[in-house]
Amino acid sequence: MSVRRNKKGVRHLYGIVAVVYISICALVLIIGFMDVRGMIEDYNAGQAKLMSGLLTENINMALDTEISQVEEISYAIVGGREDNPNYIYESLQFYAMRSNISGIGFIDYTHTTYGTRGDHLDLAKYGYLSQISEVSDTILTDPYRSRITATMIMTVLVPIYKEGKYFGTVYANIPLDMMQKYVSIDNLKDNADIYLINSHSLNCISCTDGVRAAAGTWDNLTLRRSQMVFEQPGEYQKHVKAMKQGKKGDAFSYELNGVSYTMGYERIDKMEDWYLAVELTNEALSGSFYLFRDRLVMYAVVLVLITLAAGVVMLILEITRRKNFEKLSETDTMTGLYNQKTFIAKVEEYITNAGDGGALIFVDVDNFKSYNDTYGHMNGDAVLRKFATELQTEFGSEHVVARYGGDEFTVFVRHLTNIGMVEMAMERLEQCLSEIDLDNYGRVALNFSAGGACYPQDAVNYADLCKCADAALYRVKKDGKGRFGWYQNS
């Protein structure tokens, strides 16, 4: 009873340990996943910010270079001794041919344009012509569509003063898609959109042929806001406010039409109120991270499955091992019958728990030593195995059969109601165990002596029952061996 309770308790313990182990694994995975996700988001934001910062630096430098070149040429051509506007225009044209400029000209202090009529009409249309004489510094206009090229351009306006007096303004048109070559991100160009964003109107214009828009396409961040899904409330407002306040730059992530993006933005120093924004898909930004995350999840799942499988296998092996061990510790290795210790335990258990009667029988192989001496130990073992087999066959698992030691066997008959049945069984055994075929010796005669005692009639505990059965056996041997006798008859 206590053994059984112990085994049950151990199984429960295994179960608890398994559940705790799997729970800890799951918790670790969840925490790890959350950490990785957080890392991915931080990484994305950092990368986007870094990229937009680098790109803005490129843009700023490029614009700076373009503007500086226009200024230098302007000062050189216009600021020199030459005052003839036509000559000035021709010289500017010559310069433009060797640069990225798509249109160039000169507007004198009378607002006469020395350049294409199209440029003049555009500058007038967008209000720049009326302002140029009031501006003392170089300015870069907002993007607009040129009627000559039908593409989006920005115009550099360089005011020229001679002897302190306004002389005129050089204008030079920079195509917006020129930005493309300064902001190309070879590794990510299929996953990136570059925008200029105006911090007041939140208008966006695409600078590149990106994921969602062709170069020169207008959009508005306020309009897109309704489609964007932010993780943190107030995230969008925070960044819009930062842009309106002229902050240098930052980055934020969102989901748009089911795709995750990160947008990094940086102020463009040469374009007042404008920011450069780089919008990248998170998958592209942290493609390796997502791959890593997917692999991690896959490995984790596989690991958990393997662990579970290993656990199950180990459990099965352990159970099998225990059973085998129990079996080994309970049985006689040669015959496979119970050993003495197990026999005693089982009989005592029966006597303690059962209310029915029983019979304890000792069976002794007659002259066993001679078999070993005459026929060898191998054949001697064969005799013992035959006894074991026949006893097992006769009495089965319903009763307890054991090898008590050496050439002595014992049987405990459970639920005995009629000793006649035992006597008949013993007679059958005498028949079965009358001879044996031995290797090299052929058929050889067998005999046994057996003595039995009844429970509770002869004794009420194992020790006394044993003594009675032993006494019965002794009497049988003394009377000539080769038969079965009861204790009562002693």
Binding site: T217, N220, R225
Partner: protein, 345 residues
């Protein structure tokens, strides 16, 4: 009897298929039900053949545009063939019609494009074939056309903002007063709409008083006037300080005008686009403060045919992008001969 019935069904099916070919209701390449208008038979009379393909043909807007093109074709002694799709919703049909025009031997093609890859590819094919290609109403940011006639929608948006600010001032709105204005748009992906919105936002952010704000909830109605009307009701219900509404396309304007009229909101300043009956009625009603920005679509059609003839004659056009301009119409000028001419009456 069964055989007779089956025969009748077969005959009916056969004739319905035949009927479908001419109107383009069912075509082998376009098995889903989409309606478009195919060109009439080409005439070989020695005159240049100009094909005009529009992304709409039933509305007053497109009728005016086509009318301009037809008149110019008559003046320039050209054949003109009209085709188009029922709406902007199936741009692949535009590409199909462009290809068909090319196959039919068009000397020049005029099209109101949509910014989708199919149309860009079709435009490229037209260019590669050496056929002059002219855009009307919409520009593509691709180098696949010879000239474009359209409204500068950024400017139109700026004008809409200017008009709205002007109307609010006329209503006596103070520059320190907190008020909001709602914006309704049609198709969210339409570059026309986006440019108008960009122009509106740009002008408003630079010129409107700080306390006058544009509601962040910009309502998109996909070009459906009924949805626009419902959304206008929402604007009115959700915003107590609503002082103005701007509708950036014809469908939005129709819906907004209906809503304002039904609710009797004479306190609202309204700026819309185009010249629908609803907008016209509201402008004429002196109790409302309304202005409409109308395009010059007649000029688009007219000038595009003129340009086509010029290109076919070996001349170049001076500019690649021509803004045909807009005109604001309000209670002050609606009955002037000039305005009536602009709107085609």
């Amino acid at each position: 009897m069964k055989k007779l019935g089956a025969s009748l069904v077969v005959i009916l099916l056969f004739f319905s298929l035949l009927a479908g070919v001419r109107t383009g209701s069912v075509q082998p390449e376009h098995r889903k039900l989409r309606t478009y208008q195919m060109f009439s038979e080409r005439q070989d009379n020695g005159r240049p053949n100009i094909y005009l393909i529009t992304k709409g043909y039933a509305s007053n807007y497109w009728t005016r545009l086509r009318s301009g093109a037809v008149n110019a074709a008559q003046e320039e002694d050209c054949n003109i063939y009209l085709g188009g799709t029922q709406s902007e919703e199936h741009p692949e049909l535009l590409a199909y019609l462009m290809t068909e025009a090319l196959k039919a031997g068009a000397d020049a093609i005029i099209v109101s494009p949509t910014n989708v890859p199919e149309v860009v590819d079709a435009a490229q094919k037209v260019q590669d074939a050496g056929v002059p290609l002219i855009f009307v109403d919409t520009i593509l940011n691709e180098h696949v056309f010879d000239v474009c006639y359209e409204t500068d929608n950024m400017q139109a948006g700026r004008l809409a903002a200017r008009e709205l600010i002007s109307l609010l001032h006329k209503q006596g709105r103070s520059e320190t007063e907190r008020l909001s204005v709602g914006v309704g748009i049609g198709m969210m992906e339409s570059q026309t709409i986006l440019e108008r919105l960009a122009g509106f936002q740009e002008y408003w952010s630079a010129n409107a008083p700080e306390t006058w704000s544009v509601l962040e909830d910009i309502k998109c109605n996909q070009g459906d006037a009924d949805i626009a009307q419902a959304q206008s009701y929402d604007f009115m219900k959700e915003n107590r300080d609503l002082a103005g509404l701007v509708a950036l396309n014809n469908g939005s304007s129709i819906g907004t005008a209906r809503a304002v009229k039904n609710m009797g909101r004479t306190d609202l300043a309204v700026v819309g686009f185009d010249y629908s009956d609803e907008m016209q009625a509201l402008i004429r009603d002196e109790s409302y403060h309304v202005s409409s920005i109308v395009q010059r679509q007649y000029d688009m059609g007219y000038e595009s045919v003129k340009a086509a003839k010029q290109l076919l004659s070996g001349y170049t056009v001076p500019y690649k992008y021509i803004d045909t301009g807009v005109q604001q119409i309000n209670a002050d000028n609606i009955d002037s001969p000039y305005i009536q001419n602009v709107v085609g009456h």
